[in-house]
Symmetry: C2
Subunit: 196 residues, 2 copies
């Protein structure tokens, strides 16, 4: 009897194992960040938590910097999924102004977290254009839903700009402005831009 | 007869010479940027233009990177002087909305020029907190003059954020948006923020 051809939809067993291993490692890493912060995530701690050898962790991520880059991608992807299809008000289903305000608050928190990961990834000042395009397009879409007229591409860029890590970190780290004042400020800005 | 004490208001002759030399070198450097762009400014070209030896240029600036840093400081200082005491509408004397719009346009042009100098100074991603404080304080002052109510510190930060080099360079270099559309967008943003 001839061997059946592998189906295109199911990856070969080795690949599926690898994917499961990668997923398990990412979950363990996310867990470590939650428990001990970015500084607490070492290659040793990750190997111990995931129950694999240190060699496996190094083969997967190359270095701690590589692991930080992977955590960053993972976090960005999860957040974008929540915006596109997660529960309202961040996800679809809430009125556009509520979605926009939920987006701003959520993105601020994410950017502050990401600033630490980017630094740990050895790439200070880095800025993902893919992530930036996504946020700007989303704000532009919501401004359209709100019936705002004008150069929506520019207004979206202007609303996203004060959420940039470098702006936030200066407000939070240098000027020690509390997050709720920053959130209130952005909410007021959105109402001025959208409300006219 | 005893030697007269030097007056505190007049520096000793050596110092005055040094200051004149520095000023002449800066003027020559500014001139070279105007004529040939940042790339055209080399230590050799500067020595030739200023009519001094190459050693003098190196003693003064240390390296081409040092020269770029000095050009950056010089340009920022000149611009701040123009905002504080130059002719209207950038300087005092024009109505606050006109001054604010003149500020935005002028700062955009300056930031694009500075982006090139910062890169040439070997410090990509650098951002002067002193310059940023000045621009934010100035916008805050003008918003107050306009009678805008609310968290003026936040609104000023939000209006300055889209003028940041990283935002502008993406609009200009990557998206190829013409400067007049960017200026029009910022003008509209200011009217929405101030006009409510």
């Amino acid at each position: 009897m001839s061997k059946p051809l592998p189906l295109l939809t199911s990856p070969p067993p080795e690949r599926r194992d690898a994917a499961r291993n990668r997923e398990a490692l990412m979950e363990a890493a996310v867990c470590l960040v939650e428990l001990h912060g970015v500084r607490g995530v070492t290659m040793d701690a990750l190997a111990a938590r995931a129950g694999v050898g240190k060699g496996t962790v190094f083969r997967r991520f190359g270095s701690r910097e590589g692991l930080m880059g992977a955590l960053l991608n993972h976090s960005e992807t999860e957040w974008q999924a929540a915006v596109m299809g997660g529960p309202p008000p961040l996800g679809p289903g809430a009125p556009p102004l509520e979605r926009l305000l939920a987006f701003g608050e959520s993105r601020m928190v994410l950017n502050i977290k990401h600033a630490e990961l980017i630094e740990a990834a050895g790439n200070p000042g880095a800025r993902s254009f893919a992530a930036l395009s996504f946020t700007t397009m989303h704000v532009r879409y919501l401004l359209g839903q709100l019936g705002v007229e004008g150069d929506l591409a520019y207004l979206a860029t202007a609303l996203v700009a004060p959420l940039e890590m470098i702006v936030l970190r200066e407000q939070v780290d240098r000027e020690q402005i509390p997050m709720d004042r920053i959130t209130a400020g952005w909410t007021d800005l959105v109402r001025r831009v959208a409300g006219g």
